[in-house]
Symmetry: C2
Subunit: 399 residues, 2 copies
Amino acid sequence: MMMPTHTPSFLMIPGPTPLPDAVREVMSRPAMGHRSPEFKQVLERVFPKLQQMFQTQSPVLLYTASATGAIEAALSNTLNAGDTLLVLSCGVFSARWGDMAKALGLNVQEIAVPAGQANTIESLQQALAADTQKQIKAVIFVHSETSTGALNDVPAFAKAIAEHGALSIVDTVTGLTADPFKMDEWGIDLAISGSQKGFMMQPGLSFLAVGPRALAAHQQVKNPGFYFNFTRNIKAQSQFTTAYTPATHLILALDEALNLLLEEGLEAMNHRHHQLKAMVRAGVKAIGLPLLVEADAQASPAVTAVYPPEGLDVGAIRKILKNRFSITVADGQNALKGKIFRIGHLGAINERDVYMVLACLEQALLELGASVTLGVAVAAAQQAANTYLQQQSKALVTV
Amino acid sequence: MMMPTHTPSFLMIPGPTPLPDAVREVMSRPAMGHRSPEFKQVLERVFPKLQQMFQTQSPVLLYTASATGAIEAALSNTLNAGDTLLVLSCGVFSARWGDMAKALGLNVQEIAVPAGQANTIESLQQALAADTQKQIKAVIFVHSETSTGALNDVPAFAKAIAEHGALSIVDTVTGLTADPFKMDEWGIDLAISGSQKGFMMQPGLSFLAVGPRALAAHQQVKNPGFYFNFTRNIKAQSQFTTAYTPATHLILALDEALNLLLEEGLEAMNHRHHQLKAMVRAGVKAIGLPLLVEADAQASPAVTAVYPPEGLDVGAIRKILKNRFSITVADGQNALKGKIFRIGHLGAINERDVYMVLACLEQALLELGASVTLGVAVAAAQQAANTYLQQQSKALVTV
């Protein structure tokens, strides 16, 4: 059975995430001059709201570029060729930053863990302690590793890095909004996110928060580039404009998305994602499927990676979810392609959506001949939701 | 817990029903002259598609008015004051047509059944047989009674009425698209539907199919009115225009909605609704809640009315569904207000949505202190879906 074309496609991938109506509707506004007083008013609203999202008083640069561009901006604006960068790698995206750093002529030192694990504070501390010559100028790590669903302990890592004296660069592309993030309180120097993730908007924008130590490092950099250049962009943004022509309509959408997120509230938003994580993990376990990230504390509140039942094809599961239910979940990436599927629960996703995907997943597995007791995943998710809501007062982070 | 404002509101009421994107997006088109060649092309597409929906070769009048207007059009264009109309009543809407007929000066004869029951062919046959003087000029009945979820046996009723010689007037406002409807094959004289139901579009338009016997009766009517006048409207529509200024943008939306429905196909569309009915009924029964319409064969594929657990308030259930899950289900109407709630499964609703509402309903009942075994409703609905899909080859109507 195929879904009729009038059934909306529902994205449960770790970005792009579903778009709220208000965010969609501004995209059809008339053209707007990017140097007009009207657009300046938009930026006067957007910049402080971005600072709130990162919990920082420092400037948050708004780039018309994907997050990969903003990561490059972070490296090229604060490090010189030959500088040593420590890369904590736990999956496709953190590994990509190592490749990027090499391409930029940096000296890369890497600590990698197997897929499904988070990086450890111990290995980071060990590497930093061994660096008695202070060769390591910066450390880059992901908050939430989108390819595996592993979650790193951002405040602990940032603290260790600050004590060493290196710059901390945090890829919080799928972390921000799902998990607490406190740039200033945790002493983070550079933090990057992208529009199509927890920000519930279309792809095309990225955000780079630049702390005072990062800005100081920038002053010493010989080739900071032009488009992503901190000085040029910060100067423009301090006057509530942009250095170069921005994607005006995406910024209108961002303005709406930020209103929705801040109306929900940072803490409520984090709790919602943690509740969804607990529900998805409980539901998947009830079906008997193994999780790629075994430890709850190391699991991302944004995306959950799941192994299919022995002998069942990931492609076949994804195809039934798509054709019979119009729900898209993600395949694994690189070495994990075809080995896992990833359920995104990031952005405008809620309790009701988890019930939907779990019931449909059971049906898909049954259709493929797997042994499934119908209803168990939803029941487990319902229990997990109720347990989470009862304990919601508990702290999300222990620093 | 309240839903964040970015969670889309999901309507599971028996209309208005959720709007597909294509249907929403045309509403923001620029102004269009209703006598322009461009708009004529729209009507050239829309009129034949409406005939397909009613399965008729006769004209289907397109009114800028709600379905109540189209029902009035059917009565006032085919009957004279003092004429006798037999009203088969099984709920709020069928009863409303009796009130309307009285207001129009007709002589109303009514056969009513208790809420939750369909009208019977026996009582209809009895009334027609008793009418040896052929006083009854027309019989009006609903296909699907929106206030209770009862389903009448349209082909059987139409056949009995045709044998008597009276005109048959069918309110298929929530019947069409959910259940088979064959105007010509079943010998129906007048049939009415509205835009915001199975047509998956915004309210504001109604459709009135006028068969040849109805048109002949119209010729004998002294005061057929002006706006809804058959002659004026049929003449205009035969030239692919409208008698008066139509709601141009709603007609653009109708054009899109009809494309989506006909692309799905009439039979697939009917099967989808019957599958959803089977799923909702199985799920609700699994929770242990009584259904207002007890007999499956008398139950509408568009809407299911459910009694709350003993001692639980319908308003409280609806409030949790709305506030915690952003799902709207309908209250009972008139005498049933506060006594039942109605789950709409009409229009752009699918299997996945039923899982969602049932899991959320269980959670709502639990929150209100009811004894609920979590997961049972979804499990029962999953089973019902699979059973239905396995037997889908079975006929939907036995004439």
